[in-house]
Symmetry: C2
Subunit: 455 residues, 2 copies
């Protein structure tokens, strides 16, 4: 087991070594690994961390900083000079620079404005546009760096231009040449694998493009639709156009990986009553606060369920077995409902359930719940009978189990479908809504039937 | 609103049109879209579906079938002749052919063996190897089709070879040339964007490769580690080598998209007590059966919680307010615990929590729970006091709320960490385990304290 001090020294040496190797241009180390070492160093000893980051060359730090989480980017406003930050941002891809400047503005709006002013007018305008996009719009994920060519250009000339652009470091990770006309309108793309085999003397317009499937998205398209397009059609990157059809950027596979992960995390968290953005904060107070909001909502619904129980206080008083058994009915309903709800929400997100399938989904879920309802009604009926030796008690709990499981299947599928139709994210709040229903139906049906049949 | 008959006719026309366009080589339609139309047609009228798929040319159907779900691939064993199936499989990429043959073997082992026999020895061996991989091994996701070159080859020769391979349809979606030595050992890769700018007279070994970061995985590597590598280092594809370091395939970005989605779905479903593979079945009985297993487990734990309540039956009899309030404590514990559990499981999956962070995570979660415990203890204490007008009842529920929320935070974080350490998927079963604890702790602390303080 290493002590903290040893780990600290190892990390500092490691980062220094990576930095040296990078300067000598013989590094196989990925900036992501340096970022992870820095993150650990920052936790162990923030003073050493600040010393170390000041020593890393700006072009390397530009790549490393892009890999670090938002809260680390935010605090750089306090750690580095405006001049340094501006130089680092200028060495980033446009999308990463926009993210950095946006993060810095959360900490200190003034500094972010100073950094923006150091850019030339064109880049400044571009970054401001990127920052202005809503976070669910395709534009907020695109980078402006790409390789495009006018359809009247010769292929050989374009390849020479690519060589120059690569050597000057202006473009990287190029998989396609994107073709535009004189008005910059996007026409179509050719993969480098196709480009490489054409004669250099040809012009792009001489090539028949119809064999090359043309996919692109508008900059305002919902990012989830972009993910659907990319994953359904197995694309490596997708060009982004503005409202006039002009090519303004591209979204690449690494962005898609991140968006799929983030969307899934958001869904998992929302179903559990957790906010994904708050959980990324370093500040425990922020995390606790947003969780408390959902717990507060749950408190209200739990009180509502208790009020239902309170309606039957005399029944419970005359037969305490009811108090002992009633959580079983509620718990089974909550669990069966969560199964249905989770499957429905996820299949909707993956596009497996579309509008026309709604009715089919509800019928399927109710039938499954009905079948399982009969199984568990029988089981709990027998258990209750032997436990308390009251035959009708077994019948009461069995009937209420069927009622609650069927309503769990029905509401578990209909809640997300209705929320989606109302334009609300079906993962948010649906669990609380569902368990409120299964609790109330569970307690009401069990205690109500008991009042009718047993007393 | 379209009638089913109209929709049916539209679909058949649409598929026929796509097929014609494809034959004329002027189609911009992606096989995915044809697959989705076929899926709808199959649901509306399976006879028409069978008629239509028999008319689609084999090379197009090879692409379409790869996009269709497993259960549709399985049934093709009954719908098409072995000869047709073999011809279709031979037109697929190796990974898709292996999947198809594997799916057919689930329905009819004999037919799948017949199909395999039609392949030449080399392809047969390859497909058998692919089928033999475990589903969490990198090898089961790779395709054998790639573009490789011996390091002694001239770049110009390699480009000519690529041209030939592309025209003969042997390779597609090529982003890199993968370099090997005489023993087929993998040396490194060059992106086409770099290849395109080198002089054709050079040999690959003349190019300095150290600037080109070399990433590859062993065929037995856990697919989740492959996803981590690809997403952390923003790769478009990753070469796969065997135990001797020989290049045997590659995993591309479209596979990674699918794996990320599937892994997230598996996690969401497991947390809700649902099995992701069973849910993909068409057969409702299979879905209901696997859900029933989890519900059965939940029934046992719910009975355990009821036994705890039963210990305090005389207490409840003397104060029925306890029966009314007790579900609130259990419900809040369950919810707070689910918040913690979900965040911990997901952050572990994303690699945000590693071994050394375990202690930090538990401390963080307990502190958050403690803070929220005090808030909700105060609220429910006041509510209970005014509801039943028993001052000490407010105190009892407040204390048990704090106890249950803190244990929710503790167990919600420690359960997945311990499961992971024991080599068990932390998403499976952890929710049932957790809610058992929060139910029992909730009921026991509340009713126990009530017995001590109120009676």
């Amino acid at each position: 087991m290493k002590t903290n001090q040893e780990e600290l020294e190892t990390l500092i040496e490691l980062i220094a070594l990576h930095t040296e190797l990078y300067k000598d241009n013989i590094s196989n180390i990925h900036p992501y690994d340096i970022a992870m070492s820095l993150l650990k160093l920052r936790e162990l000893n923030s003073d050493e961390y600040v010393k170390v980051i000041k020593k890393i060359p700006h072009d390397l730090f530009a790549e490393v900083l892009s890999e670090l989480p938002d809260y680390v980017q935010e605090e750089t406003a306090d750690l580095l000079s405006v001049k340094k930050l501006a130089d680092i941002a200028s060495k980033m891809d446009t999308d990463d620079a926009a993210t950095l400047i946006q993060n810095i503005s959360e900490e200190n709006e003034e500094i972010s404005q100073h950094i923006l002013k150091t850019f030339n007018d064109e880049d400044k305008e571009l970054i401001e546009q990127l920052i202005a996009y809503e976070e669910d719009e395709a534009g907020s994920y695109m980078q402006a760096e790409l390789f495009s060519a006018n359809i009247t250009e010769h292929i050989g000339t374009a390849i020479k231009r690519l060589k120059y652009l690569k050597e000057s470091g202006e473009v990287d990770n190029i998989w396609h040449v994107h073709l535009v006309n004189d008005k910059k309108k996007y026409i179509g793309s050719i993969g480098l694998e196709d480009l490489i085999i054409f004669e250099h003397e040809l012009k792009f317009e001489d090539i028949s493009l119809d064999k090359h499937r043309t996919f692109f998205v508008n900059h305002k398209t919902d990012i989830k639709d972009v993910v659907d397009m990319v994953t359904n059609y197995n694309l490596t990157s997708v060009p982004v156009v503005d409202n006039y059809g002009r090519l303004i950027g591209r979204i690449t596979s690494d962005d898609i990986y991140d968006i799929i992960q983030e969307t899934a995390t958001e869904q998992i968290f929302n179903l559990a009553g957790v906010n994904d953005e708050a959980e990324q904060e370093e500040n425990m107070f922020e995390i606790g606060k947003t969780r408390a909001i959902w717990l507060g909502l749950n408190l209200l619904t739990a009180i509502a369920a208790s009020i239902v129980i309170g309606l039957f206080d005399t029944t419970i008083q005359s037969l305490v077995a009811l108090a002992i058994l009633m959580p079983i009915v509620a718990s089974m309903g909550g669990n069966a409902g969560t199964q249905t709800l989770t499957v429905t929400v996820r299949q909707m997100a993956l596009g497996d359930i579309e509008g026309a399938d709604a009715k089919k989904t509800i019928i399927k879920e109710v039938l499954i719940s009905l079948a399982n309802g009969f199984i568990f009604a029988t089981l709990i009926g027998i258990v209750s009978y032997f436990w308390f030796n009251i035959p009708m008690l077994g019948l009461v709990i069995a009937i209420s189990m069927i009622i609650n499981l069927v309503s769990a299947g029905f509401f578990g599928s209909i809640i997300p479908l209705v929320l989606q139709k109302a334009g609300v994210d079906p993962a948010i709040g649906s669990t609380v809504l569902l368990t409120t229903i299964t609790d109330i139906v569970g307690f009401f049906s069990f205690l109500g039937l008991a009042t009718l049949i047993l007393l």
